[in-house]
Amino acid sequence: MSARVEIRNLSCSFGGQPAVRDVSLALEPGTTTTLVGASGSGKTTLLRCLAGLLAPSSGQVWFDGRDVTALPAEARGVGLVFQSYALFPHLSVADNIGFGLEVRGVDPTERRRRVSDLAEQLGVAKLLERKPSQISGGERQRVALGRALAYRPVLLLLDEPLAALDPNLAESVRDVLLHAIEIERTTVLLVTHDRADALRMGQRVALLRSGALEQIGTPRELYRTPRTEYAAHFFGPGLVLDSVASHRGNISVAETPFGEVSLQPGSAGPVRLLLRPEALRLSDCEGASARVRRASYEGNRCRLTFEADGVTAQLEASPGREFACGDQIRVSIDPDLLVVLPSAPGLPRAG
């Protein structure tokens, strides 16, 4: 059971300050949208408004064509996974998961079945009799997920589900999470401040900045064709270069200290380029020459800081080779990973 969720011109204050500003967003049934933004950008506030825990100062929330703005949390049928899990310490894992069913008056046998099915699916079946204090962080996360899913909510909200977990644990919990979402097929809004998770965990990504919606689109759109400089930097900071695009035959090229790079045909005039480390590559023969300033080994890659024509940039090289400060290298730009930033607001984007 999943609903089409519409957020219409929602504004909400928190602690006297406006936290969400005129946000409009539509979530298609059964899809997963990630909501991403810096700390304090209003993500959690928006989530709580959707859950019915916070009353907005203006705007509406609609579920499947029904205005639910005035409905309190207990009547909305939303599943919410808190950042701190908020498991009931005095109830067992089974009772925690089954809580939503219990308050809805579901038959105990039916309840037990659903709980054990879910527990099986989430890998916590052996922990049903334990209390939350007796299980690990990753297990608590899965129990919290189970509790939110037990009563088949029309909308599942997750507040930074992986933030409290170390990278390895987050890896396995992420898989469990995505799998459960797939099976339950509910509409999902997932809040995260991790940009990698933002891009890989949802079919759509919404970027929030100081309470307002900066951009919404597919992960690819937000990464490759950000509409603002803020959005561009959010999904991968890098070096910003101003250059000029000119025609050469039927292609357009721009000059940079790191070599020539081809742009969308038809581009001309001043362009602003964002060179993320992944867009710069070591090339053996062609490419511009540069000098290594610093090399740091990071296990699965080697991050090189280098300089050419007085401009410093970074790239990620394979870890096999060893680099030293002062080494001469040759670099080139991958046109597929190059991001062309929008120019001054109001002016049409080059390309």
């Binding site: 825990l53 207990e74 908020a86 509790r147």
Partner: protein, 269 residues
């Protein structure tokens, strides 16, 4: 080195305090069962060779009614404190506005005013309530309520409880369901502590009681006063021991509950 000296000093002071507090109590308790002519405390010695326990039964004979009345009064006060104070504690734990702040200050205000003053005020304002003991109960409640509310508010503002309530609401629980399944079980130790405190305060209250009491509503502490002024030590000692006997278990339970409370919430997920 200075560390050791300081700790030693603190330990010594602690022992001194303990001795100062416990010694008189022990003497009184012993004096109620043992022949105290050894200590020369009886200015009026009992000639008959009475056994120890007969002093207790003597006290119960004379003042048993007072004892029962005090117990009944304390019970009333505890129940009233819970009924009136719990909603206030819940509101104070969650809200942070001017009205709540005013109520908080007003709650603690009677503590700064001598019991005698409050007693006189109550007597003047509600002379008709005196006979039934209603004003007496009100006076007790005035002093018991701030302590109950303080304990209850502490229990209810325990870290994470608000969020657990939200989780329950998001899962679909109504206000009543939330209260029954989440708030009450988790706040129970603190509420119990508050109730015990209210009991102890009412049980030992003298200032207001002495002023407001009528012959039919005399409380046990007032009866104690009578035994002290009739100058027979064994009787007074027995009465005091009886009084202590009822208060000590309550205090003991209070300590246990307070310890259990910190332990329980330490395991919140």
């Amino acid at each position: 080195m200075a560390e050791r000296v300081a700790r030693g000093l603190a330990a010594i002071l602690l022992v001194v305090l303990l001795v100062v507090v416990v010694a008189p109590l022990l003497i009184v308790m012993i004096g109620s069962v043992v022949d105290t002519s050894l200590l020369g405390l009886t200015s009026e010695s009992w000639q008959e060779d009475v056994s120890a326990w007969s002093w207790f039964s003597y006290v119960l004979d004379l003042y048993g009614v007072h004892l029962a009345r005090s117990a009944w009064l304390a019970l009333t006060v505890v129940v009233s404190a819970c009924l009136i104070g719990f909603p206030a504690a819940y509101a104070l734990a969650r809200r942070n506005d001017a009205f709540s702040a005013t109520v908080r200050v007003l709650l603690d205000a009677p503590l700064a005013v001598p019991g005698l003053t409050v007693g006189i005020g109550l007597l003047l304002a509600y002379p008709w309530g005196r006979a039934s003991g209603a004003t007496l109960a009100a006076g007790h409640l005035l002093y018991a309520l701030p302590f109950f509310v303080r304990a209850a508010t502490n229990a209810l503002s325990a870290a994470g409880l608000a969020e657990l309530e939200e989780a329950a609401a998001a899962a679909g629980a109504s206000a009543l369901q939330r209260f029954r399944r989440i708030v009450l079980p988790l706040a129970r130790p603190g509420l119990l502590a508050g109730a015990l405190m209210a009991f102890t305060i009412s049980w030992g209250e003298f200032n207001v009681s002495f002023l407001l009491a009528t012959p039919t509503t005399q409380t046990f502490p007032a009866a104690l006063y009578l035994t002290y002024t009739t100058n027979s030590f064994p009787v007074a000692a027995a009465a005091t021991t009886l009084f202590l006997g009822a208060a000590a278990p309550a205090l003991l339970l209070l300590q246990r509950v307070a310890a259990a409370e910190t332990a329980r919430f330490g395991e919140a997920a």
